[in-house]
Symmetry: C2
Subunit: 464 residues, 2 copies
Amino acid sequence: MESRSAHVLLSLLVLAASGGLAFAGEDIAQLRDRALASNQAWPILESLTTEVGARPVGSAGMSRAKDWAISKFTALGFSNVHLESFTKENAWVRGFESAMVLTNNPHSLAVTGLGNSVSTPPGGIEAEVVVFQTFWDLINATPGSLNGKIVLVNQPMVRTQNEDGYRSAVRARTEGPSIAADRGAAAYLTRSITASDAALPHTGLTRYAAASPRIPAAALAVPDAEFVARLAARAPVRMRIILQSRVIPAAPAWNVVGEIKGRETPDEIVLIGGHLDSWDLSESASDDGAGVAITMAAAALVGAAPRHPRRTIRVVLWGSEETEGSGAAYAAAHRDEALKIVLAAESDFGAGHAYRLALPRADPADPRIAELGAALAPLKVFVSADPARSGGSDVEPLRVAGVPVASFNQDQSGYFDRHHSADDTLARIDRADLDQTVAAWAVLIYSVAENDIDFRATMSSEAK
Amino acid sequence: MESRSAHVLLSLLVLAASGGLAFAGEDIAQLRDRALASNQAWPILESLTTEVGARPVGSAGMSRAKDWAISKFTALGFSNVHLESFTKENAWVRGFESAMVLTNNPHSLAVTGLGNSVSTPPGGIEAEVVVFQTFWDLINATPGSLNGKIVLVNQPMVRTQNEDGYRSAVRARTEGPSIAADRGAAAYLTRSITASDAALPHTGLTRYAAASPRIPAAALAVPDAEFVARLAARAPVRMRIILQSRVIPAAPAWNVVGEIKGRETPDEIVLIGGHLDSWDLSESASDDGAGVAITMAAAALVGAAPRHPRRTIRVVLWGSEETEGSGAAYAAAHRDEALKIVLAAESDFGAGHAYRLALPRADPADPRIAELGAALAPLKVFVSADPARSGGSDVEPLRVAGVPVASFNQDQSGYFDRHHSADDTLARIDRADLDQTVAAWAVLIYSVAENDIDFRATMSSEAK
């Protein structure tokens, strides 16, 4: 409630006040207020979710998505619009899935296989369930103690405004199956990695340890995981789960690129973007349709200014974030260009309002940082005293190669309620929050592309 | 909604399940569940807010508070209950205050003087207002440009789950007056440091720079600051403000101490507490009645276990946090004991539910840390991968002296709506959140007091 009206009022207030007092960074303030009133990202997101839908790497949806991106970049006036192809090995494709409690009153549970999971036999696996209330309790289980069992880890996720609650909880999904397999388990279930108690399961990647047996792995909806745990606390519970999937050994994949060419030093790059691929359970409006729309819109707004900024703004729509591969492919293909990238950042935090900007390590007394801070403050975004830990998973390989990264925190309090589930739909998107986030991104990329700030100097002295 | 029922259900679930599977740290889990069901902190907080009320250092309320604390510690079964006296120099006492817009339709504004502010002349200061939309814009104002003016900084605070939004915004209060004075201002106003738009002003400390002229300084309620800013964007605005206050050159002050004596190594101390002093605008239930009640209750619960833990748990109720002094006095008096303090932490984040524990730098694979993590997980509290930056302002001098510190983040999304204002009342306290936070603290202090973990070893190797 507060965010919507307050943002707009503040914007008008700043517009009104700018006639009176000198305002540092007049151009940035004008761009910000134009972005805030633009409704630029919404139609992009509406188009992607309506015309393309789900778009896992290797799917027909992803192929449609790359065509959509080329056409959208072009319509928005970007230059140098092109595809960069790479191969995604072992693209995972979901098949038939079912999970059922056989004890007491047999009934079906809301289940979804984890990305990379191997299949059960066609008839499934039937076994007794062992429930662990926390991931630590699973780790403490002794080898052999879970022989032939279906393991369920029922640890709740902590709701946080940033991604820290998710980061802490997600090990149950990414590492759990191999830990359970090492102790003899036949199959693995995790409570969905979400703080929501909605009856929908949440998928996501798992990673098998090289030396561990590969067992089928899935997530139960939170209320179903709690139900099984309650039942198992009373008497032994038997379940049957069927998880079918296949892999495409070498799927075609694409990063899609568009640019706002710099007017003075076009070979210096401010690189932003969202990921075009998604999970398969929904139209994936928040993850990461929002990041695609926000960064395309912010760059297009800067491109529509009376003149382009000095440096080039490059938008990369990443083609395989969810199951990994697009960031590594890009960094490998652009190894020689890395030193020309002055800043990289991925928008992959959903569609909530931005509230915090973490920059590469920089001097807070630098007047250019102060100008950026002043332009963001009326949007209710502060510049963090702590530097960015990461710029997003697709720019991580660039960061490792020495590229400075930044990160906008957006309010993720409700993001993981929908993340990787059937509920990640356009209906959940707030247009005013989207505009506010676009305005924040436009301020950042304009500031870094127009002025002579060079985070690379700070980075290299750090590395020494 | 979710937090309350889920916490209780989880608790029961864990109790039910513990009969089946081995649960790491059985004793900790039992303590946690006893704490969760104890309603132990609420009556302490109800007593403090009802019987004592506001308790700024130097006031009769603070004198009542120290007597209350001695009596409450004793009633709760603490040992070694005593006062540690110190002198608070220049304790600040609010006097008559008023602020009025004289332009257009003259009317009063909701104003409160900042702690440490000098007084205006008895008749006040009347001058034109200069509004800055951000703190950076004030910094950019040139010397002499504000001669004789009343300055208003109207920068909004960003709402965050932790204290980062506040930390970023509060410079307008702590540093603003001297920056404005250096540029010629006659008086200083800040928009209240809050994300609330309620019509109540929020006080708090300001710090004058040694070389700057000292000008009277106050905070306006958010809607009043916005109103003045809107008015000033149209035409020059004149205001009159009266701010009266006095200082007590040497006020008596007290830290109040109670202990749960360790059964094996009583000279090793786990030191926790909240601050007993408060601002003067309310009964100060959240800041920091909650911290007082939470830490007294958690320690009392541990003390009521069948046997005391190995190490001593010491609760220190700090006597001058808001205007500084209690932490420094304690560290000075206990200099020789600092190396015996195995962990120090202050509860000063309000009464929202705990969601994150930051420890001193520690090995996440340490089974004692894993046990702590497993005991906290069902409370929906995760152990952060990042170490604690601070343990609270009163234990900061101990941290500087080498004492390891920890910090529980509590949900502060709504905390700063009430913080330092007349709205910080018992009516805003959620009992279930209080119980959950007490349970989290009880788990932490029991774990560290009972096992042989020694964060001091990690700290000293860090310092080398």
